[in-house]
């Protein structure tokens, strides 16, 4: 924490930059920005500042760089993994005021958005002004930031087709820790933000780094033509072996836009939540003997009804033929899950103020072993089986996590979750799955696994871009605090 005199001087300087009403040291603000919905330990920041322009961000970073002042940025407030908890205190840089949709290029199919633009905003904007185009959406509240989702390589409802969210970034504007402003991609050399190739892919200096190397102030993201018809096809499996086969089979069909699997028990929790009831994973919702173990859902879209029918027929045929020996039921069709936007995350937000998970990306070849053991660990702790998986990039990898909506006011649940997550982290690391939106405790574990050279490379990159280690210190590229 800052000493009083230094703090007063910094506050005055920040007030000159952003205006006094956007600078706060009030205990309530510090408390709120010190924690997130996960079990990550809270750390109080010293000051919260909410800049209103790129110029103000540059000025704030220049000041912070000069004073070796830690800066942790955030957008929506609904954070996870402790990623916006300021491990070394210092400044919280709340970017929500920079929320303009600067451009939608109808022909080149991209949108340029500011750092604070949310999924909800972009969806509403496209529906109003560009109804033939769509963006993807995350399995998260509509208030989630688009830029942060890309920065953190999130999984979205078009990830089966296009991969992690960082894969569809086609340009960026970044403020470096010394206040310098740079552009990456075609926008650096023209007014069009269509691509980050054919250049050295400098996006890799920032995407995935959790805001430790620069503050992304603008980003171009791909948009896609919006199909008129969409449907969900669901198959229920009595065991995970059947689900595993289905995921692999459907992935190779190249038919769906999105391919998701969930523990049936998680859907029972989801039903409670949708009925506005508390839906915590503890005590466990047990599976009845006649209930399935796992649900596999394929989201299918088409431009015509004929195309939609052909796709559903094909998928039905390959699943029923290829998995004829499995204990399963389906397909059950229902309106596309995109219809549940913006409340699609409600089932995991109703546990009692908390949501936790060990999330990871890994090979489909190791999916069954990992998912199954993860669920068995949940049994061990008396916690509802809550596996959630999304097949990425047409089966080239998978997102895998166990959703843990929990009651923050119940110490016993918190204790169990901590212990469970420790074990699930070790499990995924053993099977080749890598934690994403990586909490700091998982970063340290990955560094141990990767070895000195890998760690040193990260340190050198971080040192080059952020020599004073001011941006979100203690995470990627920086030593532990």
């Amino acid at each position: 924490m800052l000493d009083t005199l230094r703090k007063v001087q910094i506050i005055q300087a920040l007030e000159r930059i952003a205006g006094s009403e956007y600078v706060s040291t009030n205990p309530a603000d510090l408390y709120i920005y010190s924690r997130d919905m996960t079990i990550a330990e809270p750390v109080l920041p010293d000051i919260v500042v909410i800049p209103g322009s790129v110029g103000e961000i540059q000025a704030i970073l220049r000041l912070a760089n000069e004073l070796d002042l830690p800066v942790t940025s955030c957008v929506a407030g609904g954070n996870i993994g402790g990623l916006t908890i300021p491990l070394k205190s210092g400044l919280i840089l709340d970017l929500k005021r920079l929320n303009r949709i600067i451009e939608v290029n109808e022909t080149d199919m991209y949108a340029v958005v500011e750092a604070g633009t949310t999924f909800g905003q972009l969806k509403a904007y496209l529906e109003k002004h560009h109804p033939d185009l769509m963006y993807t959406y995350a399995f998260s509240p509509p208030s989630t930031g688009i830029v942060t989702n890309c920065l953190l390589q999130g999984l979205d409802n078009l990830s089966f087709r296009y991969g992690a969210a960082s894969h569809w970034v086609s340009g960026m504007e970044v403020v470096l820790p010394d206040g310098e402003l740079i552009k990456i991609g075609s926008c650096a050399v023209s007014s069009i933000w269509q691509s980050v190739v054919p250049f050295p892919e400098l996006t890799g200096l920032f995407l995935g780094w959790q805001g430790t190397t620069g503050i992304i102030t603008k980003m171009a993201v791909s948009l896609w033509p919006k199909p008129e018809f969409a449907i969900s096809m669901t198959f229920m499996f009595m065991d995970m072996e059947g689900a595993d086969k289905a995921l692999k089979l459907i992935a190779r069909s190249r038919v769906p836009d999105d391919l998701i699997g969930t523990s049936f028990a998680l859907s029972k929790i989801g039903k409670l939540a949708m009925n506005h009831q508390k839906a915590s994973i503890f005590p466990a919702q047990l599976r009845e003997p006649d209930e399935p173990e796992f649900i596999v859902t394929a989201e299918i879209s088409a431009h015509t009804e004929k195309e939609l029918n052909a796709k559903t027929e094909y998928l039905t045929e390959i699943v029923l033929t290829g998995l004829k020996d499995e204990k399963m039921s389906g397909p059950f069709t229902s309106p596309s899950s995109t219809a549940s936007f913006p409340m699609q995350a409600l089932p995991v937000l109703s546990g009692g103020g908390g949501l936790m998970w060990v999330g990871s990306y890994g090979p489909l070849s190791k999916w069954l072993e990992t998912a199954k053991r993860g669920c068995e660990l949940q049994d061990k702790y008396g916690i509802t089986r809550s596996c959630y998986t999304r097949i990425m990039l047409e089966g080239h990898f998978a997102g895998l996590r166990w959703m843990l909506p929990y009651d923050k006011g119940d110490p016993e649940t918190v204790r169990r979750i901590k212990a469970l997550c420790d074990e699930q982290l070790e499990l995924v690391l053993r099977t080749g799955y890598v934690p994403y939106k990586t909490p700091v405790w998982a970063i340290r574990r990955l560094e141990q696994l990767a070895g000195t050279e890998w760690v040193e490379l990260h340190r050198r990159i971080k040192q080059m871009l952020d020599p004073h280690n001011i941006l979100n210190p203690g995470r990627w590229g920086a030593p532990a605090i």
């Binding site: 009403e21 956007y22 706060s24 009030n26 205990p27 309530a28 603000d29 408390y31 709120i32 920005y33 997130d36 919905m37 919260v48 909410i50 929506a76 407030g77 609904g78 709340d94 929500k96 005021r97 949310t118 909800g120 905003q121 969806k123 509403a124 998260s140 509240p141 509509p142 208030s143 989630t144 939540a273 949708m274 506005h276 009831q277 508390k278 839906a279 913006p342 409340m343 995350a345 409600l346 937000l349 109703s350 546990g351 009692g352 103020g353 908390g354 949501l355 009651d407 923050k408 006011g409």
Partner: protein, 392 residues
């Protein structure tokens, strides 16, 4: 309601942020959050503050922190958007922190004025009790305390004491009389409904006025109470039953009653009122009710010859709050006027020349904002236009 009473709801919010914007249109919803941008001003932040207070991690002694709690207009946008199990209790949590503040001896000066006004004069403005009926002094209207009436018109504190708004109760009485309704008023014997006391945390005063209103009406044999104060209306309709005081009379807002009278043919709207208007849904007639009174005002406006109704983008259950509610007008006039101006700008963008509403607090705040920001927009209560359409 103390923090202890809302303990089961304190761990509902994950601070996911969904409540910040109206669903589907994703336009801003929370006046305080939008004005100040700090998380502590949004509903989710306030719930975290309440949780921290309950856990002893924050203290109510911090003046600026209490300002955040007072900067809630009780518009219930957050409750309407949130789907989590505690969502119907979000304002209860805010209200409980306000009550807790009072219990701990932290009196907001503006709220203390309301409190002492109630204690000494039975109104929230601390105006003389014997001036409460001034608005109707020259009207030929029955006194319900002296003569039996079918319908009691309850003017409420605001319409009784704000001379600039007297046109509203006067127009309502005139409209009802014109329609042949046997209507009476309480005049200087009317008392506050207690709603404002509830919102700012004086639970005891609220209960006192709730009991008084119900017992008094029962003693007079009142079967129907009509209000054009939307706060008073939702207080009687929603809040009294919350503390197990159930009115034994029908509670109607004037727009409901007028709409009924139009449908039965007792009110005939014949005269043309050539005006392009937009309608502002008061929170207390919308989100505070289930279902909200969204259609009657629109149907009334459509029934008036010459009126062209144009909707704002944020309408009905997605209506932006005027900014006056829950004591914000008194405790934080800057926020209150800012919120009103946001709405006026939205209204102007429709091309309407007038904003129509059905709530005195909304009208008061809009009138103040029109002056403060020099906005070229007329402000009407719906009764004004009905009165014009049935005159002479």
């Amino acid at each position: 309601m103390a923090l202890e009473n809302v303990r089961e709801w304190l761990y509902g919010c994950t601070r996911c942020g969904t409540c910040k914007s109206f669903s589907n249109i994703f336009e801003p919803g929370c006046p305080a959050g939008e004005r100040y941008k700090l998380e502590s001003y949004y509903a989710s932040g306030k719930q975290l503050i309440a949780r921290a207070l309950a856990e002893g991690k924050l203290s109510l002694s911090d003046d600026e922190m209490r300002e955040r709690i007072y900067a809630c207009t009780g518009c219930l946008v957050c409750q309407q958007i949130c789907g989590v199990f505690h969502h119907e209790h979000i304002f209860d949590i805010v209200q409980s922190v306000r009550t807790e503040a009072i219990s701990n001896g932290f009196f907001h000066p503006a709220y203390a004025m309301i409190y002492y006004g109630l204690r000494s004069e039975d109104n929230v403005f601390r105006k003389p009790r014997n001036e409460r009926g001034e608005w109707a002094r020259d009207l030929d209207v029955k006194k319900a305390t002296r003569q039996k009436v079918d319908v009691l018109y309850h003017a409420g504190c605001l319409f009784s004491y704000e001379q600039e708004l007297w046109h509203v109760p006067r127009n309502i009485v005139s409209i009802l009389q014109n329609a042949g309704v046997d209507v009476g008023i309480m005049g200087e014997e009317e008392a506050c409904c207690g709603g404002k006391a509830y919102e700012i945390g004086y639970s005891g005063e609220f209960a006192k006025y709730a009991r008084h209103t119900v017992e008094n009406a029962s003693a007079l044999g009142i079967k129907t109470i009509v209000l054009s104060c939307s706060d008073g209306y939702s207080t009687m309709k929603n809040l009294y039953p919350k503390i197990n005081i159930v009115p034994q009379f029908e509670v109607l807002h004037s727009i409901e009653f007028i709409y009924q009278l139009i449908q039965t043919g007792q009110i005939k709207l014949k005269r043309e009122v050539p005006l392009k208007v937009t309608y502002h849904d008061p929170c207390h007639l919308g989100r505070h009710l289930d279902p909200g009174l969204y259609d009657p005002p629109r149907e009334i406006l459509k029934s008036i010859p010459g009126i062209e109704l144009i909707e704002m983008e944020r309408n009905r259950e997605k209506s932006w709050c005027c900014g006056a509610g829950s004591g914000v007008k008194q405790a934080n006039p800057e926020l209150s006027l800012w919120a009103a101006n946001e709405r006026l700008q939205e209204a102007q963008a429709t091309g309407a020349s007038a904003l129509v509403t059905a709530c005195g607090w909304c009208e008061r705040n809009f009138l103040d904002a029109v002056r403060e920001y020099s906005v070229n927009l007329k402000i009407y209560d719906i009764a004004d236009l009905v009165r014009l359409a049935i005159s002479p």
